[in-house]
Symmetry: C2
Subunit: 198 residues, 2 copies
């Protein structure tokens, strides 16, 4: 699930929420899955992966990550990203382009405190995307971390990211392939609305 | 559905096929949906969208597109892409990085001939991602195109793309969040296999 807080009342946000509600009613599996695509200057490479979108708060889309992960490194030198959702239950794709930034330490600490100790043990124990000998080792590291004295203290290398889209596309698939594609593009603080061809 | 032809017998391809079979048995919806992420040099922007993966032929992943679309333009100046699949029915994510290239005119023509006239009418009528006044106009253009004399002739602005990954990650989600992440990286013509932390 995605939690909505004081949702921005502009058109693309309301449309996002209305598609979310439809997908939720259609029992969409893993409704919070969102692809985050990045550009890494060092290697000149695009990369992408799914994360869990936790909150849409006003106009900010928020997820959490290790701050030393490859995606975190990419954000440092190229803070523009693409975000992508596909809800198969309603055959709707939502494409976004945005700038991304870190949440504050205070925000991260408050959020971390309210998570389960099990989740926190994993966040503390895992050097995200760093090599490891085996999957068995992952489980051993986690079990060791469960004995950590303070599972409510957010490590500095873990926290939230927020992105605020400047571009939305709402794509609705039709059996005929005459897909409907609706664009919202932010220009000088206003949303320009248009359609594009399938 | 994805069609497999003379599948490459190296480990990441066999694993891809085996995960596909699992997702297929689990009745995965829209199993052919794959996100293609690009980098556009002109605007310095990452973008991503879902396409339908049609074939895996030997070591080539093949999908079709308008050759004048924004993604086609991005491929021209930055031919490295990220491809991403998520099969919610089995909670498996497959991440790939690859170089992409156009299929030949002959290949495109042969493929086009064997598609339905309705699909071809759309490919012919649509200036993919170009602005249009309304969704109604999309339908009118399509209906006009249905009367086209030769719906079996592939237009030069439409055809296949093939990419051959040099990097695979197979990510299996677990309820515990102790996700299993297995990497295959091509180095000097061989696949280096490793695990990374969740």
């Amino acid at each position: 699930m995605i939690q909505f807080k004081n949702l921005n009342q502009e058109e693309p946000y309301l449309l996002f929420k209305s598609k979310y509600d439809e997908a939720y009613s259609a029992e969409q599996k893993v409704i919070e899955a969102i692809s985050i695509s990045t550009f890494e200057n060092k290697t000149n490479e695009v990369d992408s992966r799914f994360v869990n979108l936790k909150f849409v708060s006003d106009n900010e889309f928020i997820f959490f990550s290790n701050y030393k992960s490859p995606k975190a490194n990419s954000f440092e030198t190229h803070n523009q990203i693409a975000a992508l959702i596909y809800w198969s239950s309603i055959n709707v794709q939502i494409r976004m382009k945005a700038k991304i930034r870190k949440m504050s330490n205070d925000y991260n600490q408050r959020y971390f405190e309210n998570r389960s100790k099990k989740k926190n043990a994993l966040a503390i124990s895992s050097n995200q995307s760093k090599p490891i000998n085996s999957y068995k080792q992952v489980i051993e590291n986690y079990n060791k971390s469960l004995n950590n004295d303070n599972l409510k203290k957010c490590p500095e290398y873990w926290g939230g990211y927020s992105f605020t889209p400047y571009y939305f596309e709402f794509w609705e698939g039709h059996d005929s392939r005459l897909n409907k594609r609706e664009i919202f593009e932010e220009i000088d603080g206003c949303w320009r609305h248009s359609f594009v061809q399938p």
